[in-house]
Amino acid sequence: MSNEAFEPKLVGFLCNWCSYTGADLAGTARMTYAPNIRIIRVMCSGRVDPQFVLKAFAKGADGVLISGCHPGDCHYQEGNYNALRRHRLLSKMLEQLGIEKERFRLEWVSAAEGGKFQQVCNDFTEQIKKLGPLNLNGGKNEPREA
């Protein structure tokens, strides 16, 4: 498959209070952006278990985005700091497993930043298009079910 025809599959975990509302704003404001992202709403970016990220990659995602409230703005005070710490540590571990850290992105998007969400989605899609499909070992990385 040439990278021209490659449409990345992106999974986005968006927090209920800021980023999901920001994405909703992008929609109601009729901003257009790359349709590659599949949004999953979670209550807080700190709720995103690293297992979710790995499972997304193993099940065929080419990139994973976690998006939460700006530092200091978390609805639960500190959830987004947990997301930040996990993101940095998991990125390091993903590189050891041969998954480029560009495929795993953390962004802060507030409820007012529809435009930023649009730009993040476009930018992330472009970046993953350049990297190409992840295709974890030819799809042989099927995870064991819980």
Binding site: Q51, P71, R85, L89, K92, Q96, N137
Partner: protein, 326 residues
């Protein structure tokens, strides 16, 4: 030898021999085992051959205990044969349960492992650059060796497994409990790990010493500090996999003043031990500042190898991507 006794087989794949030792370590209890069952196949101790197993009727072995991960074609062939001949297959020990230490080979592939083992280690003296071949001619005769796979597999990735006896190696009381459960027909539902389903911290003697809120300012490696023998390892800044590891081991490492390395694998609620531990560790790093977080994480030298020390092949990603290996 009475004909009614259930037949039992032991087999080893990619393992160190420690699991065989665990059977020997049953000491006098082994007599109770031999009284209750007939051991029909056990390459480390008894002289039965593959053809003897082939000659048995399908399903005639009551239970096969198989230790070691699967990384050679020979191992795959043998475990498939034992599966056919056995009513129950029990994955015995960390390597067959999760991949174990040999599973760390999944950071590499056949080519890079051979290059390292046969060419580039400082102790290698191999001017002819000999490597094991699957087919060789010696004095006009053709010799065969099993093929070496790029990837190490857990036993249940190769054959259907009924139960798991965790641990590196499984402790004596768990082995005896399992044997008793088999003999009395009191086994839990298929697929169970035969050890309590809670985390090591739940049982740990040092749990009392854990502060209400764990917070790590500095990561320390066991050789860098004098370890307090009473205090929670994580509270001392030492990485201990207890929170993400199943209990039942009898705290062998903790009592020797070493942190948990995770050989029992995760509890039933968790499907990726390394990711779950990563989650726990990241949340107790005691800073919210981006730069400080990154600096602290730099001191965690080998997260994948530490968090998946025994479970890389059983993890969600299973191995380093082949494309990323040079």
């Amino acid at each position: 030898m009475s004909p009614e006794k259930p037949k039992v087989a032991f087999y080893w794949c990619a393992s160190c021999g420690g699991c065989e030792e665990a059977v020997i370590d049953l000491a006098e209890d082994i007599l109770k085992v031999v009284e209750a069952v007939d051991i029909v196949f056990w390459p480390v101790a008894l002289d039965f051959k593959k053809k003897d197993v082939e000659a048995m009727e399908d399903g005639s072995i009551a239970v096969s205990f198989i230790n070691g991960a699967v990384r050679l074609s020979e191992q795959e062939e043998m475990v498939k044969l034992l599966r056919k001949k056995s009513q129950l297959v029990i994955a015995f020990g960390s390597c067959s349960h999760l991949g174990g230490i040999p599973g760390l080979g999944n950071f590499w592939n056949k080519e890079t492992i051979f290059r390292r083992a046969y060419h580039t280690t400082p102790s290698t003296d191999n001017p002819e650059k000999t490597v094991p071949l699957e087919k060789t001619e010696v004095d006009g005769k053709e010799l065969h060796l099993p093929s070496f796979y790029d990837t190490v597999y857990t036993l249940d990735q190769v054959i259907d497994v009924d139960y798991y006896l965790p641990g590196c190696a499984p402790p004596r009381d768990l082995i005896m409990n399992a044997l008793q459960a088999i003999l009395e027909g009191k086994l839990p539902a298929k697929g169970a790990v035969l050890s309590p389903n809670k985390s090591l911290c739940d049982d740990c003697d040092r749990n009392e010493s854990k502060p209400e809120k764990l917070a790590i300012k500095e990561i320390k490696r066991p050789w860098e500090v004098e370890i307090d023998p009473e205090k929670c390892f994580l509270a001392q800044g030492i990485i201990c996999l207890g929170p993400a590891t199943r209990t039942g081991c009898g705290q062998r490492c903790i009592e020797a003043n070493m942190p948990c390395r995770g050989c029992f694998g995760p509890t039933d609620q968790v499907y990726d031990q390394g990711a779950k531990f990563l989650s726990a560790l990241a949340s107790i790093l005691d800073t919210n500042d981006e730069k400080e977080i990154e600096k602290l994480i730099e001191t965690i030298v080998d997260p994948a190898g530490t968090f998946y020390r025994f479970s890389l092949p059983a993890s969600t990603v299973r191995r380093r991507r082949m494309e990323a290996i040079k």
